[in-house]
């Protein structure tokens, strides 16, 4: 990843969490730390000070409240970014606007899901007897 190297001393709990995020997201610890700090860096000075206060004084309950509020806000903004991108993409490409009313969209949505189900159902499943299973002593039989 292009960028400038920044080192800092982190609280052991935070460092452990960064390690965990790096593992689950499949990125380096440095990338995980950079992404996480991007959110804090967006905040105004007053909001940063309040955040610091919450982290230092709020305890787990306050941090949980903050987590819920942030996740909800991110989900909402994520959806609105996606909506804007979809509208812009299709206008730009000159595609998709094939007329029809709202009822046509509902029918097409139902048909698309049904078609996907049929495609999944058509995939042959492996017979259970051919699936390797772990033996009690470890490893596969």
């Amino acid at each position: 990843m292009a960028g400038t190297t920044v080192s800092f001393i982190a609280d052991p709990k935070l460092a452990a969490r960064i390690k965990e995020i790096a593992r689950s997201d499949g990125v380096t610890q440095s990338q995980a730390a950079a992404r996480a700090s991007a959110l804090g860096a967006m905040l105004s000075p007053a909001a940063r000070r309040t955040l610091r206060f919450v982290v230092e004084e709020g305890g787990e309950e306050a941090q949980r409240q903050l987590e819920v509020a942030l996740a909800k806000a991110i989900a909402q903004v994520g959806n609105s970014v996606l909506e804007r991108r979809l509208l812009a993409r299709d206008r730009g490409a000159g595609a998709a606007g094939d007329g029809g009313g709202e009822e046509d969209d509902t029918r097409r949505a139902v048909a698309a899901v049904a078609e996907y189900r049929r495609a999944i159902a058509a995939i042959p499943s492996e017979p259970v007897s051919d699936v390797e299973t772990a033996s009690p002593g470890g490893g596969a039989d």
């Binding site: 987590e67 909402q76 996606l82 509902t106 189900r117």
Partner: protein, 207 residues
């Protein structure tokens, strides 16, 4: 009291599909926004969804030629919204189930998820698959029909819920949750303001 709302996969797909047709207003979009905002005209809302539905959503969007990055973003946003909704309900993985007689196994899975998640309202674009008839033998009562005579509101009573599970079309659900229109008597009554409830309890004149 929090309204536990389940949106069938076809409602989510409908929302993103409408956008790709430049339709900035749709019933599906209004309901999706209610799920993301965590509140509607009747009060707070908790989204109920399953991992299987999230997988289906992502795959169907890709099949509809949405770039994979966008399909994944849609899935992540919906999952984040449910995981840390007002009640912090994580997406469900339903074990067992399959008791209710539906022709389509996916409808059964959606229905089982709604029951297991304690949903008050399940919204779908596919009322025909839930209405007692050739595609479903579920013991649901038709509470209302739309102007074309098709059921748009069903009530399924089960021991896990005092008020039962309401299954509604997107247009019916939008009218109650977004537009503030009163639902038929006996439908999500517990969420209605007192004056609405009182009006619903008045004896109705025969048609």
């Amino acid at each position: 009291m929090v309204l536990r709302l389940a949106l069938d996969v076809n409602v989510w797909v409908n929302h993103y599909l409408s956008l790709s047709k430049w339709r900035e207003r749709s019933a599906a979009r209004d309901l999706v926004h209610i799920a993301f905002n965590g509140h509607c005209r009747l009060g707070p809302v908790q989204l109920i969804i399953s991992h299987a539905m999230l997988d289906t959503l992502q795959e169907v969007l890709v099949r509809l030629e949405m770039p994979e990055r966008f399909a994944e973003a849609a899935r992540d946003a919906v999952e984040a919204s449910a995981t840390l909704g007002i009640l912090g309900d994580a997406p469900y993985a339903v074990l067992g189930g399959g008791v209710q007689p539906f022709l389509d196994p996916e409808d059964r899975a959606v229905f089982d998820m709604a029951v297991a998640g304690g949903a008050h309202l399940l919204v779908t674009n596919n009322m025909a698959d839930f209405t007692p008839g050739p595609r479903s033998d579920v013991d649901a009562e038709v509470m209302r029909r739309d102007p074309e005579g098709q059921p748009d509101t069903l009530l399924f009573k089960h021991p896990g819920s005092r008020d039962g599970l309401i299954i509604g079309s997107v247009f019916a659900a939008r009218s109650w949750l977004h537009d503030g229109e009163p639902p038929p008597p006996g439908v999500i009554d517990q969420f209605l303001p007192r004056d609405f409830r009182d009006a619903n309890e008045q004896p109705r004149r025969p048609p």
